[in-house]
């Protein structure tokens, strides 16, 4: 353990903005890459079943 307290951990030796900014941004970008295909898949399946209903 290099940090004595949770507050010290959050402070990152004075570099909190840079360190947590980096990790936060990475989290957002990586999450977006998971959510976008799920959303696209839903859209696609919806349009497929609409097309099927119309053709009947």
């Amino acid at each position: 353990m290099t940090f004595n307290s949770f507050a010290e951990f959050l402070a990152m030796g004075g570099y909190a903005f840079y360190v947590w900014g980096s990790y936060g941004l990475t989290l957002i970008v990586l999450l977006a890459n998971i959510i976008i295909p799920i959303w696209q898949r839903k859209q696609l399946l919806r349009s497929l079943s609409l097309k099927q209903q119309r053709s009947k």
Binding site: M12, G14, Y18, V19, G21, S22, L25, L30, I36, L48
Partner: protein, 254 residues
């Protein structure tokens, strides 16, 4: 084919068929996610909690645990994309084309992460957000190559033609990869030289190296997961009129 066991050949034949690929990756996914979560938890704990601060950079260096793996991934994914594109170009294998285009947004994301975390690291350490140095500039060109691939694919309606076009663009862009890799050696840059890939004697302590390698594996696993998810959607989109898609998604609803 006498050197490759029959079972292996059969595995690849099956995997290249869209319905098999779709079903197989669905079964594989929970395992991939489990491995990813374990690697990430171990890597972050090791990097943010266990590893000591750097003797020169204090705690700011902890950005390394996402910056360096992202930069590695930006190059790795580009090579996968170009190789898959090349395979699709020569043998017209649909799955290779799908892997190539599905890799592009993830590669672009990692390139973006590498650039922005580098900037967030550069500000407190170099005193500037950005310099036009060889490493940074060539990595920025990589981002434009990825965006070019994505844009070109979107601009062509026939996706088989679009796949040919992006494969050629990706293969031409491969010239940028060694430039990025060797930029810190060929030119005298502000960006520091390699710390890990000097395999004989990495200039990084083992308590810092282990979490870094764990995060590199974690990001690699993330790429496999995110790429497969995109590939599955892309495959459905392309095969939407095929019987297997109708059997799988439409018959049940009627």
């Amino acid at each position: 084919m006498f050197l490759i066991p029959d079972a292996v050949v059969r595995f690849f034949h099956r995997m290249a068929s869209p319905p098999h690929f779709y079903a197989f990756t669905e079964k594989l996914m929970p395992w991939l996610v489990t491995i990813f979560v374990l690697l990430t938890a171990a890597g972050l704990y090791g990097g943010l909690v266990l590893a000591p601060p750097d003797y020169q950079q204090g705690d700011s260096y902890r950005i390394i645990y996402i910056h360096v793996p992202s930069a590695w991934m930006s190059l790795f994914i580009y090579m996968v994309m170009a190789a898959a594109g090349g395979i699709g170009l020569v043998w017209r294998i649909k799955l290779a084309e799908v892997v190539a285009i599905s890799s592009a947004p993830i590669g672009a994301s990692f390139t973006f992460i590498a650039l922005v975390t580098g900037s967030l690291w550069g500000k407190p350490m170099w005193g500037t957000w950005w310099v036009w140095d060889a490493r940074l500039t060539s990595e920025l060109i990589l981002l434009f190559l990825y965006l070019g691939v994505i844009g070109l694919y979107g601009a062509i309606d026939d996706k088989r033609v679009a796949s040919k076009a992006i494969a050629i663009l990706a293969l031409v862009g491969v010239v940028n990869i060694p430039i990025i890799h060797y930029s810190v050696e060929w030119w005298n840059t502000l960006h520091q030289g390699p710390t890990v890939t000097k395999m004989d004697k990495p200039s990084i302590h083992v308590t810092m190296l282990v979490p870094l390698l764990l995060m590199a594996l974690s990001f690699k696993m993330y790429y496999v997961i995110a790429m497969l998810q995109r590939a599955r959607v892309e495959l459905l989109q392309r095969e939407r009129n095929a019987q297997w898609v109708k059997n799988r998604f439409l018959e049940k609803q009627s």
